[in-house]
C-alpha cells in the first residue's frame, strides 16, 4: 500500500510559480482559482535577512478534517492516502472548506468542491504530478513513503524538514526541506 507524499526543497525553490501554472493547465482549473500557491516568508532584520520560499497546496492529511466532516462521503481518502472529492456525491455544503486549516479547497463554479488531487490521474500512470514535473530547479519531490529507497524517503531521512502548522493536528503529508 503506497503512501504518497510531497517534499519541497526550500533551498531550491525560487518562487517562479511554474507549479501554479502547470497545475492550472493540467487540471483545467477555472480562471481566477488556484490549487497551489507560492508563499515567501522573510524573517530577520536587515542585513541579516532570511527568506524561505514555499509552494503550498492541499496537504493530503492523514487525519483529514475535510474527510471527517463531509456529510456524504464525497470527500474521501483514495489510494496512497490521496484525499479526493467525488464530484457527483458532493452537495456543496462547504463543511470541508470550513474544516481545512490550510484553506486549500475552493468551490468550483460547477458547484462541487475542488482542490489539489496530487494529479492522481498522472500518478496512476506512473508519472509525477504536473507541478513536480515542470519545476525548473527540481525543487519538488513526489513519492511513496512506504518505499524506503524512494527519493522522498531518502530526502526526509537525510535532511531537516518541517510541515506546516502540525499543531492543527491533521498529520499533513507535504513536507518542506530546510
Amino acid at each position: 500500500m503506497p503512501r504518497y507524499a510531497m517534499a519541497i526543497d526550500t533551498k531550491r525553490c525560487v518562487g517562479c510559480a511554474d507549479c501554479v501554472v502547470a497545475c492550472q493547465t493540467e487540471n483545467n482549473v477555472p480562471l481566477g482559482y488556484c490549487r497551489d500557491w507560492i508563499v515567501q516568508e522573510m524573517t530577520g532584520s536587515f542585513p541579516d535577512l532570511f527568506l524561505e520560499i514555499r509552494s503550498e497546496r492541499c496537504n493530503h492529511c492523514e487525519d483529514a478534517p475535510c474527510v471527517r466532516t463531509c456529510p456524504t462521503g464525497a470527500s474521501h481518502i483514495a489510494e496512497g492516502g490521496i484525499v479526493l472529492v467525488t464530484h457527483e456525491e458532493c452537495i456543496g455544503c462547504k463543511a470541508c472548506i470550513s474544516s481545512c486549516p490550510y484553506d486549500a479547497r475552493y468551490v468550483h463554479p460547477e458547484g462541487y468542491v475542488d482542490k489539489c488531487t496530487f494529479c492522481i490521474h498522472r500518478v496512476r500512470e506512473g508519472e509525477n504530478p504536473a507541478c513536480v514535473s515542470v519545476c525548473p530547479t527540481h525543487a519538488m519531490i513526489f513519492g511513496d513513503l512506504e518505499d524506503e529507497n524512494s527519493e522522498i524517503s531518502i530526502a526526509l531521512r537525510t535532511r531537516k524538514h518541517k510541515a506546516l502548522i502540525p499543531e492543527a493536528g491533521t498529520k499533513p503529508h507535504v513536507y518542506y526541506l530546510l
Binding site: 507560492i38 508563499v39 522573510m42 466532516t69 458532493c90 452537495i91 486549516p101 484553506d103 458547484g111
Partner: protein, 317 residues
C-alpha cells in the same frame, strides 16, 4: 521582523481574502433550529407533566409553528448548497463523524414528528380542519395514541437539535473562533431561551408568561455565564484562539456583539424580567422580542466571525 507574502497571488473566490463560504442562509437556519428545539422541548416537557391545559400556549399553540419554521429552515439550507441537484446524496448515507450528517438525519426525524405532534392540537383549534381527509384522520389518531412516546422522543431530539448546531460549528477546528466546546451548550441554551421568548409572545395567560419568564431568566443567566467563559477560554488558549477572541475584544465585531447580543439581547431582557418578577409593569413583549433579536444576531455574528478567523495568512483582510 517576519513578513509573509503570497507572491503567486491567491484569491480563490469565497476563500480569500476572508472565508465566505456561508452567507445568511446558515445563521438563519441555526436560529430556526434553536427556536424549534426550544418550542418542542417545552411542549413535550409540560405535556409529560400533564400540564397541557394549564400552559396552553407552550404545549398546544407553539408547536403549531414548528413545521412551517422547520420548512423555512430546511429551505434556507437547501439554498446554501452550491451543488443543489445532488442534495439527495445527504440521505444515502450516515457518517457518524460528521455533525452535518447527524443534523440532516435528526431533521429527517424531527420534521415529520413535529407535524404528527402538531396535528391533534390543530384539530383542537380548528375542529373542521381536513375533516374529510382519511390520511389526516389516521395521522391524528396515531398522534394521539403515541403522544407519550413522541413527547419523550422530543425531549431527547430537541436537545440534540439545539446542541448539534453548536457542535457542528465547533467541529471545524480550522476556524479558531468556533473551535470551542462551549459553542454546543451555548447554542442549546440560546435556542431554548428563544423558544421561551416565543412562547411568552404567544401566551395569553399571566401565569404561563410568568413561569416562562422565570425559566428564561435562568437560561439567559446561563448564556451570559457561557459567553464569558468562552472568551476566557480563548484568551487562555493558543495564539490563533487569542487572535480569534481579539476580533471581539477590540476587533471589528466588538461593537455589534457587546451592544446588540450581550447588552440588548441578554442583559436588558434579564433585568426587565427581574423587574417584572418584582412587580414593575413592563410590556412582556419587550424582553421577549429582545431575546429573539439577540438570538438571531448572535448566530449571524458567530457564523461570520468564525469565517474571519483562520490559522494561516491572517494578514489577508
Amino acid at each position: 521582523m517576519k513578513e509573509i507574502q503570497i507572491t503567486s497571488g491567491r484569491m480563490n473566490p469565497g476563500i480569500d481574502p476572508v472565508l465566505h463560504a456561508w452567507g445568511w442562509e446558515i445563521p438563519l437556519y441555526l436560529f430556526i433550529g434553536g427556536l424549534v428545539a426550544g418550542i418542542l422541548f417545552f411542549s413535550a416537557l409540560f405535556y409529560l407533566r400533564n400540564e397541557g391545559e394549564k400552559y396552553k400556549a407552550a404545549v398546544k399553540i407553539a408547536p403549531l409553528f414548528a413545521p412551517p419554521l422547520l420548512a423555512i429552515g430546511l429551505f434556507a439550507l437547501f439554498l446554501d448548497l452550491s451543488h443543489k441537484l445532488y442534495f439527495w446524496r445527504l440521505y444515502t448515507t450516515i457518517r457518524l463523524e460528521s455533525p452535518m450528517s447527524w443534523g440532516a438525519w435528526t431533521l429527517m426525524l424531527v420534521f415529520p414528528l413535529s407535524v404528527l405532534w402538531a396535528l391533534p392540537f390543530l384539530r383542537e383549534l380548528y375542529p373542521g380542519f381536513l375533516k374529510n381527509c382519511k390520511l389526516a384522520n389516521l395521522l391524528t389518531e396515531w398522534a394521539q395514541k403515541f403522544a407519550k412516546p413522541i413527547a419523550w422522543a422530543f425531549i431527547f431530539l430537541s436537545i440534540i437539535l439545539g446542541m448539534y448546531t453548536g457542535i457542528l460549528l465547533s467541529a471545524f477546528n480550522a476556524r479558531p473562533f468556533w473551535n470551542t466546546s462551549i459553542l454546543g451548550p451555548l447554542f442549546l441554551v440560546s435556542g431554548f431561551s428563544t423558544g421561551t421568548a416565543f412562547i411568552i409572545l404567544l401566551s395569553k395567560d399571566h401565569h404561563e408568561r410568568q413561569l416562562f419568564s422565570k425559566i428564561d431568566m435562568g437560561l439567559i443567566a446561563t448564556e451570559i455565564f457561557l459567553i464569558i467563559h468562552m472568551f476566557m477560554g480563548f484568551l487562555a488558549s493558543t495564539q490563533v484562539h487569542e487572535d480569534a477572541a481579539k476580533l471581539f475584544l477590540g476587533g471589528p465585531y466588538t461593537a455589534i456583539f457587546w451592544t446588540f447580543v450581550f447588552t440588548l439581547g441578554l442583559v436588558v431582557p434579564l433585568i426587565v424580567e427581574l423587574m417584572e418578577w418584582r412587580g414593575r409593569k413592563i410590556p412582556i413583549a419587550i424582553p421577549a422580542l429582545l431575546v429573539l433579536m439577540g438570538g438571531i444576531i448572535l448566530r449571524f455574528i458567530v457564523v461570520d466571525a468564525g469565517q474571519s478567523s483562520r490559522w494561516l495568512y491572517r494578514f489577508m483582510k
